[in-house]
Symmetry: C2
Subunit: 473 residues, 2 copies
């Protein structure tokens, strides 16, 4: 078993400094959009992970693919690391500048390049966030379903193969990216994919870049599938006597083929946290939040099927919501769970797991993980995209308390080994980053990781694209 990387021990290799000639050239190209101010650099040397801030040497704010290509071309010439930065919401240390270098900020690349409502596709610049996209396409009766919680950039979501609450019905970024514009490690611009829904033309470069965490190139534009807004949407909360009962209801729903659009678990700790923060007055027991999309009749049918099987498993206190306002209230619980959970123990940081298993194994891993968590004495809460077999157990550890952190990391590692033994994955949706490099070897095997390394070296021979992430070279 490979230990997770202790977040206080970053694998700092010898940093590769930005030479004055390169800095001068960046300043010439970017003018005021090039910054070496400490505050700016520090803001770009952190994400939502508990790793210590590890700033890049310089930050450039890009407004176009050409800007990114200019920065990467200079970096390639000087063999300096390049780290793409969207909204900074990644969770596994993806953005730490462990070898220094230049942060390529794409947050100002917010253009909807082209909306083709008649084809259910859109091309956006990498800095467009999912909320911006959904605001801008709503008038056309369309939506983009991938919802990782954070209002992440679509470039970042592609880079980490994000998913979230709707993946059980609509898939993840893996299924919903049709094509990309990428700046390669040499600064060249390539396009992958087309706007056709399918293709058998050559290697699937699109899906090679989706989930590559910035280690093969910088994604500057993303072409996405869109969906017609469903004719009817209905959401429900249902309370269960135990996590096991909630998970059994989920498993049966999936196994019956009900096309449920969202199926989220909150454990009693998460419910307590959102109650405390948002005064929702929810009954404090494990609960599922579900959503159904379709025609009015179809939604009714799905909802009745799930209600019947949930009731048999002790599910009760169904609360239904059909208007957007009622649904927003119900979903507040889920969307606020992350920050509400952290506020259970002020001054704490979270150690968050991300395992995903085949649906039939979900009860086994969740029950065992809950037993471990209850025994360890640390505060924790669970939220999960259980329809996918994916859940997050967040341990709350006191900032700077090495012993507590060690307990949490040890339990996290045990959970990963359990997930792998159950034919699942160490990361359902957050990626490998710095934190899970050891787990990747446990899961994929040394041969598969060696193959990933070969691809990396072939496409980025100077190892400048987000070096030190996913694996070490």
């Amino acid at each position: 078993m490979n230990a997770p990387l202790p977040p206080t021990a970053l694998p700092l290799v010898e940093p590769r400094p930005v030479p004055p000639a390169m800095l001068g050239a960046l300043r010439e190209h970017f003018g005021e959009r090039c910054s070496t101010a400490l505050a700016v650099r520090e803001q770009h040397g952190r994400d939502e992970s508990p790793f210590p801030v590890t700033p890049p040497e310089v930050v450039v704010f890009c407004e176009s693919t050409d800007d990114v290509a200019a920065a990467v071309t200079l970096a390639a010439e000087h063999a300096v690391p390049v780290i793409a930065f969207g909204t900074g919401s990644s969770l596994e240390g993806h953005l730490m500048a462990v070898q220094g270098g230049v942060s390529v900020d794409v947050a100002r690349m917010t253009q909807i390049v082209r909306l083709n409502a008649e084809d259910l596709t859109v091309t956006v610049q990498a800095g467009v966030t999912r909320e911006q996209l959904n605001r801008e396409i709503k008038d056309q009766g369309l939506f983009f379903p991938i919802d990782p919680g954070a209002n992440a950039s679509l470039g970042g979501m592609a880079a980490t193969r994000a998913s979230g609450t709707n993946a059980v019905r609509y898939g993840t970024m893996r299924e919903n990216v049709l094509g990309l514009t990428v700046v390669t490690a040499s600064g060249e611009v390539i396009r992958t994919g087309t706007r056709a829904r399918k293709s058998s033309a050559g290697y699937d470069l699109t899906r090679l870049f989706v989930g590559s965490e910035g280690t093969l190139g910088v994604i500057t534009e993303v072409t996405l599938k869109l969906y017609p807004l469903p004719e009817a949407v209905s959401a429900a909360i249902c309370h269960f006597p135990s996590i096991d009962a909630a998970v059994q209801a989920t498993m049966q729903t999936i196994q019956m083929g009900v096309p449920i659009a969202r199926c989220e678990l909150l454990d009693v700790n998460a419910v307590r946290a959102v109650n405390a923060q948002s005064k929702l007055g929810l009954r404090e027991s494990p609960m599922l939040l579900m959503e159904f999309h379709g025609s009015a009749a179809g939604v009714k049918e799905q909802a009745e099927t799930v209600q019947a099987l949930a009731s048999e498993l002790g599910g009760e206190d169904f609360e239904w919501a059909s208007t957007p306002e009622e649904r927003t209230r119900l979903w507040t619980a889920r969307h606020k769970a992350y920050f509400a959970g952290m506020q259970m123990s002020p001054g704490c940081r979270t150690v968050t797991t991300d395992t995903c298993v085949p649906i039939s194994r979900l009860a086994e891993i969740l029950n065992a993980s809950v037993a471990d968590a209850d025994a360890c004495g640390l505060p924790y809460y669970i939220v999960g995209h259980v329809g996918d077999g994916n859940f997050h157990l967040a341990y709350l550890v006191k900032e700077g308390d090495a012993a507590q952190r060690a307990v949490a990391e040890d339990l996290s590692a045990q959970m990963v080994q359990r997930a792998i033994a159950l034919e699942g994955t160490c990361s359902g949706e957050h990626g490998i980053g710095l934190h899970k490099m050891g787990f990747l070897v446990d899961e994929a095997g040394a041969g598969a990781v060696a193959m990933m390394r070969s691809i990396k070296l072939a496409l980025d021979p100077k190892n400048i694209m987000n070096p030190g992430k996913i694996f070490t070279l």
Copy 2:
């Protein structure tokens, strides 16, 4: 524009002979399952494409991943080409042994390794065909939807990123392969993916191998998503006054978000051909074959929606089928179209196109292609997975008639350029093989193809895995 490869001019590079030491070692390992008989070699040097038979030097019949690894290890040692062979139903010259070498036949690898009905997953050996799989899982109330027409092997379907009639609802092999066992170019065995429905753990090696046409390694086992057999299935034929009207109905169906499971076009020539062959007595006009999956009420609702919009476009003579027997009769037309079409002109070979465009562009490319085809004087027919924006126009050319073939290839090339201009692809589902190498450069650009080459060289430095396909090195 890059011309398609004339099928009479195979790019034979200097063949790389199987040295006696390797042949001896293969015979020792495989015994009677190693053959150099001309008939066996010729059977392994052809596919459904019009390329001339180009046999490998030796054929080995594998029964396990270890058998494949043994053959590839020897081939790697002696730098001899390896071509994986399933059922021989590929269409673009994938199986031609243009550099000689060893054909690794996996057709005897027919084990269902593990069915996990409770997770809707199955792992099969590469030689299991889609029909065998569906027979073996039917009792469990499950099915695997990807249906490329031919009873292809699932290893081959993964290798060519196949799709077919159900892709509009269920996706292609891209979306339905969860993991693979692969013998790499050095003879090592790796696993990609897990049985979890999603993962963000490292590069997506699964999707790199799906569609790699045997050029990166040999797929020996495939883990697939399965689906519960729908509660209700309804199929319908609808006749239209023109191809344009049929395509408009398709476009509106997709744009409205109707979850249609199959939506196939037959032009009047295809209808005539199946009538002549199978005495179906169908009205000889362009027609759509549609299928709806869901609950009884859901299917009824979908069918009513589509019938209403088809009627507005002049669709008539709806013929519905709800029992399996009635459905089989309707689908006979589609499934027999390929061979029925060929029999329109005995002694002919077909030149088949495979473009796929964004759905809104489908009428434009189909109307232009029909005009070209009508003007050229060659017999032709059209069948299409039009719900995906994908169709096949098959020109019938006299065997050995170079002038006719040139006309057909020229029109095929024009259609590809049109598809690319409409942001589509030269290959929706058949792959690149030998035939479309030039088109791939037109579509993806030299930079993206160079990236594919880099990946190929990194994973197969001796260029032994199906060399000379997709691109030349």
